[in-house]
């Protein structure tokens, strides 16, 4: 029999047992109540408790069993495991029926189970973070067993090509050994991020100032969702736009000034990424500027300052922690952005300060390493996880700093909507 069929049969049997439990439990509870005894709960609640005691333990046992099977590689045949679970389900059914007694608090018991299940669901997000951490760190450690950590952090040459030959046992044929110096990748990442920030921060901040301080209500209600559209466009679309439309424009503009630009220049993905990030900055800055207390504006205007001076010297400095926090979030977003750079930036690790040259980024190399035809244990594939670890640490710290700054702002001005 196929495993799928066994699992389907198990599910069917469990469903059937659950139904039996429900109707038997309700019938018994109704009978007890009809005999005139006062019960702590409604018949339906006894019935649901019977269902829970039937299906719950059986499902937990089968899931745990399956997990152990995977984790330890123990050879418990699926058939036996699920059969055992069904036996437990029958036992649970019997217990559930026994518990249909006037002095049993069925409703509270259900309540406890539900609370437990909900808490379990809440833990999944913790497990996700742990999963990311463990999987990335685990594979990164394997990588650092093959490659020196300091060479990875400080090396300036990224040349994983030769690791393919090494893995094939032909290490000496390729000439040079594989090198995993990540500095050129970080240089490319920071260059593109810097370009993106140069676009996004001024435009986003000024747009936020206009929307919160100058714009009439009607413009505001239209402009905000329209700006949000920018954030909703899939990044793969931006990537295509950057590669097909923006990059050639930049090449011809650079050519007009007598400069030579690569078609994979760092400017195109940077500019397009900056445009994508505008709403992140403008939306959060707008909220922060709006929550600057009006008394501060009034005080400033009463001293004879013009509106422009009030904005420049009072509102913006007050809102600065929030604006910096928004910018940090935007930086973290730009660092981890993948599709735009995969499609529009170069593949060549290139240590340069000229944004018109092609540069590659951390995320590009992660994608390149994992979509190649390499076996999983090769140094190149594992290098993706080492890069991912760096990316994780950097974005996590940026996010934490950002959260702390916005919390300070919130506490200082007692704003609740941030």
């Amino acid at each position: 029999m196929q495993t799928n069929q066994i699992i389907a049969m198990f599910g069917g049997a469990l469903l059937l047992l659950g139904l039996i439990a429900f109707f038997l439990g309700r019938a018994k509870a109704s009978r007890v109540r009809a005999s005139g005894k006062t019960m702590y709960a409604q018949p339906d609640q006894y019935a649901w408790f019977a269902v829970l005691s039937t299906a719950g333990p059986a499902m937990v046992v089968s899931a745990l069993g399956g997990f152990v099977l995977l984790l330890l590689g123990a050879e418990i045949p699926t058939l036996y495991l699920l059969g055992g679970s069904l036996a437990i389900a029958c036992l649970g059914l019997a217990i559930g029926m026994l518990m249909v007694r006037p002095d049993f608090h069925a409703r509270q018991a259900i309540e406890r189970v539900i609370r437990f299940v909900l808490a379990g669901a809440a833990l999944i997000s913790i497990f996700t973070t742990l999963g990311i951490l463990v999987s990335i760190i685990g594979e990164a450690l394997r990588f650092f067993q093959m490659q020196n950590f300091w060479d990875f952090i400080t090396g300036t040459i990224w040349n994983p090509g030769a690791s393919f030959l090494e893995a094939a046992g032909r290490g000496d044929e390729g000439g040079s050994a594989a090198q995993f110096g990540s500095v050129p990748l970080f240089a490319g990442t920071f260059m593109i991020t810097a370009v993106a920030m140069l676009v996004a921060i001024p435009i986003g901040l000024l747009a936020a100032i206009y929307m919160s301080e100058f714009a009439p209500q009607r413009v505001r209600t239209v402009a905000k969702p329209v700006l949000e559209v920018l954030a909703g466009i899939p990044t793969v679309v931006y990537g295509f736009f950057a590669a097909i439309t923006v990059a050639p424009i930049i090449v011809s503009v650079a050519g007009f000034f007598g400069l030579e630009a690569s078609f994979n220049n760092a400017l195109a993905p940077g500019i397009v990424m900056g445009i994508m990030i505008i709403p992140f900055i403008s939306s959060l800055s707008d909220d922060v500027i709006n929550s600057v207390p009006d008394s501060m504006r009034q005080g400033s205007l009463a001293l004879g300052m013009t509106k422009g001076e009030t904005i420049r010297d009072v509102v913006i400095p007050t809102a600065l922690p929030g604006i910096i926090s928004a910018s940090l979030l935007a930086v973290s977003r730009a660092l981890g952005e993948t599709m735009i750079v995969v499609m529009a930036a170069g593949m060549r690790p290139n240590l340069t300060a000229n944004p018109l040259e092609d540069m590659t980024t951390v995320t590009v190399r992660i994608v390149a390493a994992l979509t190649g035809d390499q076996e999983f244990a090769s140094a190149e594939t594992l290098s993706a996880f080492a890069l991912g670890l760096v990316l994780f640490v950097v974005t996590l710290s940026l996010n934490l700093v950002s959260v702390i700054m916005i919390r300070r702002f919130r506490d200082k001005y007692r704003v609740n909507n941030l």
Binding site: V117, A121, S135, I203, A207, Y210, L227, I233, F241, L391
Partner: protein
Amino acid sequence: MSQSFDDISAQLKRRHRKTARLKWISMGALGLAGLFLVLFFADMLVKGMPAFQQAQVQVQVDYSEQASQIPLAALNEDARPLVSRGYLRLIPGRMEDDPDLLGTTRMEWVLADGQVDQYLKGHHTKLKAGDQAVVDRLVEEGRAELRFNTTFFTSGDSKMPELAGIASAAMGTLLTLLVTLAVAFPIGVMTAVYLEEFAPDNRITQAIEININNLAAIPSILFGLLGLAVFINFFGVPRSSPLVGGLTLALMTLPVIIIATRTALRSVPESIRHAAFGVGCSRWQVVRDHVLPLALPGIMTGSIIGLAQAMGETAPLIIVGMVAFIPDITTSFTEAATVLPAQIFTWAGEPDRAFIEKTSGGILVLLTILISLNATAVVLRKKFERRW
């Protein structure tokens, strides 16, 4: 030193001019963002609209004995380079299915080659000058024209641009999003209900909250690494399948749904809960019968937005291998599939110029779906949102 009134009023004028300047500059910034949006959509429309049309030519098809062996023999010499190979390939099969065809000669409208299509649309083409003359003649006779491109919506990927379509990618997106929704929606709502309605305010709860906010800000590509290491390598979920893609996207969408649900739950006033407790409901009964129904519009809105976000996501899916070449429409959760954004990514990498048009066409379809999803969310919110 005292200043004259003239000096002071000149100074005032300068200061007010500065305010006006700030106003215009900031307005310009907003305008710039808007202008970009307009340019972007215009560019996509111009590039993508031709993808919805496809050249067809009327040719004489000779169903001879020879054509059942060598399909090319069914056509005249000068029509051969103009017809899609995808059509020619079908001729022997059709002759087998329908023996009456043998020996007949018919005029048929058939799918033209991708190069003819590009030529008719006025793009750069590799069509030879002689063939171009033939196409010109056919156009004059009304035997070659651009028609609505149904192939684009009904077929899967192909290396021949005239045969490439988005159907298999759309199916993959549907399957993947079903998995995502089935996993992320219940878990997300349950988490939010626990945090808002049940959880005591202790360290563990705070840790979960901080953790959820962090998950929302983690780069999506790291979720791909998680999917690869945990789902594929550890649990053995088949690579490239909608199942693994859906699970990966579910973990990514989870924080969005949790945060939206919490906001929706928080907007239900305390008095509703107090009233329900007052008539003897237990906590779960309060949540199930009173709080959740009232919060449902908000939860739906948040979930739709989360789903739309997941639909446009590409990076984690590339990592778990969903950029496969899928010519056939698969309806299985465990077979290799691709999704719309991944299809766009694949086509964007094709060297043939005709694929630029396909890519933009795919982008238009994707954007249309995303915009309608978001519009649905907004309408839902407008229609059912209650102000307390």
